[in-house]
Symmetry: C2
Subunit: 426 residues, 2 copies
Amino acid sequence: MGRTVAPNAVAAVSEQRQWDRLMEMAKLGAITGADGSPGVNRPCLSPLDREARRLLIGWGAAIGLRPSIDALGNLFLRQEGTERGLAPVLAGSHMDSQPAGGRFDGIWGVVAALEAVQALHEAGIRTRRPIEVVAWTNEEGGRFAPGCMGSMAYAGFRPPQSWDAVTDGEGIRFGDALREHLALEADLPRRGLGVVEGPKPHAYVEAHIEQGPILEKEGLDIGIVTGIQGSRWFLVELTGESAHAGTAPVSTRRDAVQDMVRAITALNALMEDPTDVLRFTVARIEVAPNSSNSVAETVRFTIDFRHPDKAVLTERGDAIEATVKAAVRTCDVTVTERFHALPAAFAPEVTEAVARAAAAQGLSAKRMPSGAFHDAQFMVPLCPTGMIFVPSRKGISHNPAEYSSPEQLAKGARVLAQVLAELANG
Amino acid sequence: MGRTVAPNAVAAVSEQRQWDRLMEMAKLGAITGADGSPGVNRPCLSPLDREARRLLIGWGAAIGLRPSIDALGNLFLRQEGTERGLAPVLAGSHMDSQPAGGRFDGIWGVVAALEAVQALHEAGIRTRRPIEVVAWTNEEGGRFAPGCMGSMAYAGFRPPQSWDAVTDGEGIRFGDALREHLALEADLPRRGLGVVEGPKPHAYVEAHIEQGPILEKEGLDIGIVTGIQGSRWFLVELTGESAHAGTAPVSTRRDAVQDMVRAITALNALMEDPTDVLRFTVARIEVAPNSSNSVAETVRFTIDFRHPDKAVLTERGDAIEATVKAAVRTCDVTVTERFHALPAAFAPEVTEAVARAAAAQGLSAKRMPSGAFHDAQFMVPLCPTGMIFVPSRKGISHNPAEYSSPEQLAKGARVLAQVLAELANG
């Protein structure tokens, strides 16, 4: 196995075609960043998301891939294998973006999987097992929190109705948006929901931009991803009392903004980490009535906390509620954990296949954990799972300035093609 | 003058009619507060605002009041005087509300002015001078900041186009909302804009709920308002850089939420006041992209700072920008002053008329400054100006729980009727 398994397929990966498809996708929700960079705002289950899915389905149809959709809206494009009844190898990522996101996060993993399958197809390589290109619903959590709903439901990690009542910024419920989406996509064949209603996949591979600075800094082509740090998301809700900013004495107020400042200050102390490994972020704040001369009655803010060490994740995460409650002075408080993913380790079957492919193709690579979480996390209990990273310029992501070059992305797709050929014949 | 000038008019004030009209107005934008209280959300220049104006115009028309509207949308209902060419006495307030406001703030001052004029009418009293009931556009600043646009433009304090580019939460420009409003109200006679295009009024009187706890606590009927504390409003804009919450090391971030916390903490120290007279409020916060797993790129927050002492207002207000700039660590900062009103003192002609009316009617009263600002503030340089307060239950305002009883409000309207009779014959 020290050599390229499918040299013709690797050669058939088209740098230009893959790049053109990414640029085509980037038109759907195109925005311009503060620095003039071309970014993307493509919320999950939006008309733009549907346009992107239709574009993908069309590209797949041209090489005979059959689309299907499940109860969470996860989209699959299937290439049959030569032997009946074998579990498929899945490869993909997601097509939704952050509200001010880039042109590569998620969408590249889907386009790369299609590129790899198309390269196999054009090289005349038929694998024993089916290969399915998958686009998971709502990985980002940008419109509906938390993210990874599609993969979590697929994996049976949460029941599919778990998030029906979650609302977006306009008050639209996830359940309603999903129902509308499924109605609009009713012409696509419907499939059972993942391992809840069907067999386990044989393996899962996700290609993704690194979203961190390491590969670029070390001048490497490929990240052999060994696992994903754990994430815990919380929602803090503070309820005080609105009052007139001109008449209510400060001493008598129950000001939710002031209690938020106290809570974040205390959380900063709890989350201090001189090693700079811990990630603690408050990035979403909603104030009501949010009028400059009415003391804030309520504040809702999110906490995103991540760490690769399960012990740290557990200990400090479990201390969040008590820290907030000790810090606030006048408001009622609720702290709700919205998402909890333990650190996940990827399977040697996949990491070694990635390492072999990179080596066979003469690419420089290193083993590394993922700082971001990904749908791959939820596949870990189901089947051998792994990821392939390519460099991100300056490590910038979740930002229009996010960039990986056509050449870097083509190298990633070539590694993926070889890994898929190997796994789908295994 | 120690006795009631117009006893028949005072007797003709109808507690029931005034209350019924307030409850009719409260249907326009009715909301329910967290505690179940019936509140109002009637944004300025909204369809609800127009409905409220039409209702008022209809009530005025029934007693022969002629409506007119100026370039800022300020609405006037005019009762002619017996002598030609005399400047009118103005009485009124505003009809817009806070986003989660009560049923009395503003609207009562307009309905009370109409009630007073109607009582004079029904008592057969014709004054020498005209009386105009006025409803000022956008006092609250809840939809478009700052507030008091209508009265500021009327008084020539700012040019009428000053706020055209101000946008509401949906990105609608004030200039566009006003243009639409004037087009929809094109059937109303148009008048020149205040003292910019016409003569000064003879006097201005505004009835208003106290919005503070003093009258209730001391068991008094009437507040003889001596003036208004000064207000300064600022907008702070912090610009950092968005980044992935999972991958961007905390040490490398330019996190606008964290700089906001630092800025507010520093401002709290600047604004500390053991006497509890100073009012410092941060009540409106906008974060972008406001996604829980994207480090905040920008935060905009408002500062509402008030004090009755001009020296304190100047000194601490002028220190805000430097305090914010010293506190932030990583973001670019701009601090913009959006509104600056010095403390205003009302005219003895009006305060003494209010005191006389209360005394003649056997009502308990005290002289007091206003903690809130009001349109009256901008009338001070134009003509003798004053205000009449009635008690607010628990001092609660800018909240659906805001309440004054039918009886308390009728007492206020009776004082207003007598004051108008006196001033409009002066």
